[in-house]
Symmetry: C2
């Protein structure tokens, strides 16, 4: 079985979470398979082996999981993006619209250095709002996004389109088209 | 410089976070030093090299960081403990008292297997309430806590005492006695 199929087989579908009508892709069974986690990390890293990023930005909280493994893989800094009010030091913040209301994410001011090429990582690409917010925080600090990596992509939500303007790669291991 | 001193030198003190009078120990500068992260992982793992745990339980969200690295180090499952309502599948939950109010944490029902020896990991040991709650969730599933690991311990809050009843090791890399 190839890696993508292995990941698909391991992901658990949970109906009506977080609200009725949504079929949630639960990645926690993946985390229970350490060998699979190692393979996922290597596969997400593969396109960057010849030109490795200067840092990984991981989005709270599931983006911390493979974000840390990717940072260790490349031997580069890991930088967390967190919900407003969670990071203790001085931050820059970015707000974006959700289906209902809005969300704000933050990054420490001194974390990303100007001219760095930074990979944004999260476990799941849905509408792309959070990943784009992370990219905005990176650009605000004079750095560039060299790519977005996700374990899962819900392609029917067109998040990839939202990320196009950053002129970088977007890779996910498995994609779901919806029903 | 030994590892403990290196960690202490790297941690950033942030005054008055999350509220006035608290000197917060910010570990994000550690995450920017991938070599240091590798050394921390190896050091936290060291007491378990002869008898490795069956799984690592990491507490949301900063416990995800080194929790995943520890799980990879031992090649064992990583199991997240999350705040109530975050885990999509069936969960067991445990509520505990905080200074003001209470908190509830959850774990998926099928994650920890009976008779497993499980390590609980979080970045910081304060009063021990969250780590104890994770231990209760592990025991509820018929498994045993073989140890608690933390990067930082605020020893003046006596969290270690709260964890004594689980009859397991408790290790932290650096401890602060308060002023």
């Amino acid at each position: 079985m190839n890696l993508s199929d292995k990941v698909k087989t391991t992901i658990r579908d949970v109906a009506d979470f977080p609200k009725p009508g949504i079929l949630f892709k639960d990645i926690t069974p993946i985390l229970e398979d350490s060998q699979l986690c190692a393979e996922i990390t290597a596969e997400l890293a593969k396109p960057y082996e010849n030109q490795k990023p200067d840092a990984i930005v991981g989005v709270e909280s599931r983006g911390f999981l493979f974000g840390m493994l990717l940072a260790q893989h490349f031997n580069i800094p890991f930088i967390p993006v967190r919900k407003a009010g969670k990071l203790p030091y001085e931050t820059i913040s970015y707000s974006y619209d959700l289906e209902y209301g809005s969300a704000t994410v933050e990054m420490h001011v001194d974390s990303v250095k100007p001219h760095w090429n930074v990979m944004v990582h999260d476990d799941l690409l849905a509408t792309g709002g959070t990943a784009a917010a992370a990219a905005e925080l990176i650009q605000k600090q004079g750095a560039k996004v060299c790519g977005f990596t996700f374990v899962v992509e819900l392609s029917f939500l067109n998040g990839k389109k939202v990320l196009e303007k950053y002129n970088s790669r977007t890779d996910s291991l498995v994609a779901y088209d919806g029903d």
